[in-house]
């Protein structure tokens, strides 16, 4: 297309532009796209990738140590991941997780275009399932179009009602499963249907039901075209070496039917017979033969369609295939491993992942925070010694209540008041305590003396846990 545009200054070139503009079609959803469903290699892979989403529906029923294996307990600020309990204080790991997925998306896009969109995105997967139901109920695309323009009969109402009802049921199950990750699946089943769950639960389920129904049932590819930011971001991350579904123009053109009397050997046409199967199967309704474009979610269904036609004609497969622009144009393609982008993305991925693994493996059982009193910064006592006040915050991240003893380490002799008795630290909570530290004036040779607070406790199973915190002792200028 760019070649046509380059002659724009010439009157002849203008004609070409106008000719092209007539073909230019912007999909604004005026027409429902009824894609033909066919089988094939990429179709199978698409189902396999989509089946990962079963985890979303079944995951909440997985048990671990007598509770839901993965439960994001927002009211109690506790996030259970199998054997690990993560508290909000550990949430720096979430940023690494988000970084990991963001970069993963970038890597995947740089290497293979919008594979996420084509195979895994919930919009694609749910739409796929919704249209499958539509096909089962209303028949193939031609029958569907006919039904759409047919007058309203009892039969049409029946079919449409079943379809919309099934869509809503899927939407409801989607919302219900989503909430189960946060509310607990067992509790949700008990509470939901008798009206005992809270308003947030019902609101979330309702929102998901309506959202799923509207997005996957009605908006479909319009979401990819006009709503989804990822589609736009991913589009600009492609380069000439990115592998995307591509029509081999050199092999296919000039497209068309063979003239009468021509044989395979003598035909003047290219391999493309202009059967439009690639357009018919496309879930976003694009014509891949126009080149890579915003509507293409790289799902590979046009490849399946074209290969089936090529098989019938006895021509080699791969007229449409996963290929990079360089490859199609016959340029040398560097192996993936030689592309700096792959290395940079890969390094960030590894860093983020190791951060998460480090975080999860080194989750401290208790955490100690020491807040130095500022008003007064220090107090002179009647014996001349200096006293500082500290507020301790002991966070107990274990699942048991602990008795946490606090001690203070310093280079000079210190007297600690308030820490004689251990702090009773309730599990999953921040437990406050107040401690006074006293230092004799003779031992104070600076305005500030470093202190280390040590909190230690013994867990019921006998393991010692410890947390330390640096702080400082302040006194008057010596």
């Amino acid at each position: 297309m760019s070649e046509n545009l380059s002659g724009g200054a010439q009157p002849a070139g203008m004609d070409e532009i106008y000719a092209e503009a007539e073909q230019w079609h912007v999909n604004t959803g005026n027409e429902t796209i009824h894609a033909k469903r066919i089988s094939g290699r990429w179709r199978t892979i698409k189902w396999l990738a989509a089946s990962v989403w079963l985890i979303f529906f079944l995951g909440p029923y997985l048990r671990w140590d007598g509770r839901q294996a993965v439960l994001f307990d927002i009211p109690n600020r506790q996030y259970h991941l199998f054997g690990v309990t993560v508290l909000p204080q550990d949430f720096w790991m979430l940023s690494l997780l988000l970084l990991f997925f963001a970069i993963l998306l970038a890597v995947a896009t740089a290497l293979a275009g919008r594979v996420y969109c084509g195979y895994f995105c919930f919009q694609t997967v749910w739409t796929d399932v919704f249209t499958l139901i539509e096909e089962k109920l209303e028949g193939n695309p031609a029958q569907r179009r006919k039904l759409a323009s047919a007058p309203l009969t009892a039969e049409k109402i029946r079919v449409k009602a079943i379809k919309h009802l099934s869509w809503m049921v899927i939407g409801f199950v989607t919302g219900f499963s989503f909430v189960a990750w946060f509310y607990g699946a067992g509790k949700l089943w008990q509470d939901f249907f008798v009206g005992n769950a809270n308003a947030a639960v019902y609101a979330a389920v309702a929102l998901f039901t309506v959202g799923t129904y509207v997005l996957a049932g009605w908006l479909r590819e319009q979401v990819c075209f006009w709503l989804c930011p990822y589609a736009r971001i991913q589009g600009v991350m492609l380069d000439r070496t990115t592998v995307v579904p591509t029509y081999d123009e050199g092999r296919g053109e000039p497209r068309g039917r063979m003239q009468k009397g021509e044989t395979e050997a003598t035909r003047t046409t290219g391999d493309c017979v202009d059967c439009n199967q690639c357009v018919a199967v496309c879930p976003t309704g694009v014509d891949i033969r126009n080149g890579q474009q915003e509507g293409c979610i790289t799902c590979g269904l046009c490849i399946d369609a074209c290969n089936a036609v090529m098989d019938k004609l006895g021509r080699p497969r791969g007229l449409i295939r996963y290929a990079s622009l360089d490859e199609i144009e016959g340029q040398s393609v560097p192996p993936m491993i030689a592309r700096p982008r792959v290395w940079v993305y890969g390094a960030i991925l590894v860093l983020a992942l190791s951060g998460i693994i480090y975080g999860l493996s080194s989750l401290a059982a208790i955490e100690l925070k020491v807040l130095h009193e500022r008003a007064p910064l220090f107090v002179q006592l009647s014996d001349g010694s200096i006293q500082n006040k500290y507020t301790l915050k002991v966070l107990n991240k274990t699942n048991e209540d602990l008795m946490v003893s606090v001690s203070v380490e310093a280079d000079v002799p210190v007297t600690v008041t308030g820490a004689e008795e251990p702090i009773a630290a309730k599990h999953g909570e921040v437990n406050p305590g107040i401690v006074f530290v006293k230092i004799d004036r003779d031992h104070l040779d600076a305005e500030s003396v470093p202190l280390t607070f040590v909190a230690s406790a013994t867990q019921p199973d006998g393991t010692e846990v410890q947390a330390t915190r640096e702080s400082a002792f302040f006194g008057p200028r010596p």
Partner: protein, 307 residues
Amino acid sequence: MAENNPFPGENNTGHFWDDNLRELKNPPPRWWMIAFWASVAWWVLYAILYPMWPALPGQSDGENDFTRGILGWTSIKEYKQGVEQVEAVRAQYDEQIAEMTPAEIIEDPGLLQYTLASSKVLFGDYCAGCHGSGGQGNPGYPVLADDDWLYGGSLGKITETISNGRKGAMTAHADILTEAEIDQLANFVVDLAEDGEGSEAGWALYNEKGCQACHGAEANGVLAELPNGDIVTVGAANLTDSIWRFRPGGYESAKHTIKYGVNQSGVEQTRDAVMPAFSQQGQLEGKLSPQQIKMLTVYVHQLGGGQ
């Protein structure tokens, strides 16, 4: 008009200018119109359910200057419900505290935390103006975070101080003593504060001039110790420790106090040292309830120097 339409089948409005300039019918998309009417419906529904209109003539009762929605919702009602919820949570603690002595509160870690956290506001409202936000004191106002107490630092004494207030008194000695005697006593007090020992001549003058009547035989402000550990004082400062009642302390400051005394009427440069009574029976009537005084007692006791 339609028969004159030079652009038939174009879906124009039939309005033409300059031969070919014409107005087309391009209605907004259906979804846009649906959203538009849904918004209008929302607005109407909102106006019925929630307060939205000003009061109709004759409907205003001065307080509620608006037409109520049928849900009866108002923001002040929601606020009051929120306050009620907080009060309900606090009530559990407050009821327990009402039955307990300050010493018992300190023994209970949960109630102690509640008392310290909630009394911080009381302390800020009633105490911090003079004694500082953290009890660090101010010039003329004692530090509450140290262990030096003019009237005793036990829970009982602190309650007494908050309830009834304190007003110390010290005679102005400018006309009673000679300049040399004042000078010697000031030096004696500085010596006491620095090493706890004064010169013999100093002790002699201290006793001769009657200082011990208030500051005690040992100059530590204690007149007698009771069997229960409480001390009997008149609020005179402990001269033997390193804490000065009137800052900045030291020779000049001590001399000033000796010369002009404390709370002496008619003496222009006298030290001011008055703490008002905060109980409901006190001078500032209705200041603090017994519960509030109890909680403040615990708070002050825990500032760092309670005894």
